[in-house]
C-alpha cells in the first residue's frame, strides 16, 4: 500500500503551552544558537516547516520547502510568518522539530531526511538509496507517523545526501 500524504501541517505548541526547559519558540526549536532572521516569500510559513530559498533566488527570502529543482533548503522555521513577515530559522547544527510528510509511514531515528512534494509544504521524507538529494537533517527520534506530530531532527540543510557505491 502506498504511503498516504498528510493533509495538514501539524500545529506546533502555542507559546502559552511552552514550559519545559529546553523548549522555546513554540516548541520547535530544541537547542543550538545558529538561528537567523529571514523574510517570508510568496507563501506563508508555519513553525516546524523546512524552508528554502526558491529557485528564483530572492535575497534572505524563504518559502516552505517543496522539492523543486534549483531551490535550496536553508533550515527549519521556528516561528510562524505571513507573507512578507520576518521569521527565525534554525540552521545547520541546531536541533529542531519538523513534520513527516506521511500519515502512515514512520521515520526511524538516525534516518537521513530530504525534501518531498507533499502539499502541506516543508515536510520531510527519508532519503532514498543512491539518489542525490538535498539533506534536511538526521532524525533524532522514532516518528510514529500516525500521531501526526512534529519530530526532532539534527538540522543539516545545505548538505547533500551521500552516494556510496
Amino acid at each position: 500500500m502506498a504511503p498516504t500524504d498528510r493533509t495538514s501541517f501539524p500545529v506546533a505548541r502555542t507559546s502559552a503551552a511552552v514550559g519545559n526547559i529546553g523548549d522555546s519558540l513554540k516548541g520547535v526549536h530544541i537547542s543550538g544558537n545558529n538561528v537567523a532572521s529571514f523574510t517570508v516569500g510568496a507563501t506563508a510559513v508555519k513553525a516546524g516547516q523546512v524552508v528554502s530559498i526558491s529557485a528564483t533566488g530572492l535575497d534572505f527570502t524563504v518559502i516552505p520547502c517543496v522539492a523543486e529543482a534549483g531551490s535550496q533548503p536553508i533550515g527549519v522555521a521556528v516561528t510562524d510568518g505571513a507573507v512578507g513577515a520576518k521569521i527565525s530559522v534554525a540552521m545547520i547544527g541546531c536541533i529542531a522539530k519538523v513534520s513527516n510528510y506521511s500519515s502512515d509511514t514512520a521515520i526511524d531515528a538516525s534516518e537521513r531526511l530530504t525534501w518531498n512534494d507533499c502539499a502541506i509544504g516543508g515536510s520531510v521524507i527519508a532519503c532514498s538509496g543512491g539518489t542525490t538529494q538535498p539533506l534536511g537533517g538526521r532524525a533524532l527520534a522514532y516518528d510514529v507517523a500516525t500521531t501526526l506530530e512534529l519530530t526532532p531532527i539534527l538540522v543539516m540543510c545545505g548538505a547533500r545526501s551521500t552516494i556510496h557505491a
Binding site: 530559498i53 545547520i92 542525490t132 545545505g158 548538505a159 551521500t162
Partner: protein, 151 residues
C-alpha cells in the same frame, strides 16, 4: 569577464562576520586578507591556513575575520556562521541560494559546477551577487561538507 583581484572593496557594516559564534584560531601560512575563504594547504600543515585556491589547498575551513601577515594568528569563522564573501569574477551574477565552492582565484568563491561534481564546498549564498558591483555578499558557511561524495 575577468577575475577579481581586489580585496579592498567595502564590507557592509565593516565586519566580515554577520552572525554566528563558531570562530577558531589558526596560523596564517601566508598573508591573508579579511573576507578570504581560507583552507588547509595540500601539503597538510597542522592548524595552518592559506587563501583557498583550487589545486593548491584542500578543504576550506572558513572565512578569515582579519588581515594578517604570514605566520600570524588569524580568527576564522566556520561552519554555520553567516559571513561576507566575495565572488571570483566581475561578470557572472550569482542568485541567492547558489551553492558556492573554492575557485582558482585565491580566497574568492564561485558557483559549484553541478550536483555530480566533487568540489570543495564553501556555503550557500543568502543574497544575490551582482558581479559588476564588486561587492561582498552574505553566505551561510558550510565549509567541511562535500558537495558530493563519490559514486
Amino acid at each position: 569577464m575577468a577575475d577579481r583581484t581586489l580585496w579592498t572593496n567595502a564590507i557592509p557594516g565593516g565586519n566580515v562576520l554577520w552572525t554566528g559564534s563558531n570562530v577558531h584560531n589558526f596560523k596564517a601560512g601566508e598573508a591573508i586578507t579579511r573576507g578570504m575563504v581560507v583552507a588547509i594547504h595540500g601539503t597538510g600543515i597542522g592548524w595552518t591556513v592559506h587563501p583557498a585556491l583550487l589545486g593548491t589547498t584542500t578543504v576550506p575551513i572558513g572565512v578569515a575575520l582579519q588581515s594578517v601577515a604570514s605566520g600570524a594568528r588569524v580568527a576564522v569563522a566556520g561552519l554555520g556562521c553567516i559571513e561576507y564573501v566575495q565572488q571570483e569574477t566581475d561578470g557572472t551574477d550569482l542568485d541567492a541560494g547558489t551553492r558556492v565552492v573554492q575557485t582558482n582565484s585565491a580566497g574568492f568563491i564561485g558557483a559549484e559546477a553541478g550536483a555530480d561534481e566533487v568540489e570543495y564546498m564553501v556555503g550557500v549564498l543568502l543574497e544575490e551577487s551582482d558581479a559588476s558591483d564588486l561587492t561582498y555578499e552574505r553566505c551561510l558557511i558550510l565549509c567541511g561538507l562535500p558537495t558530493q561524495t563519490h559514486a
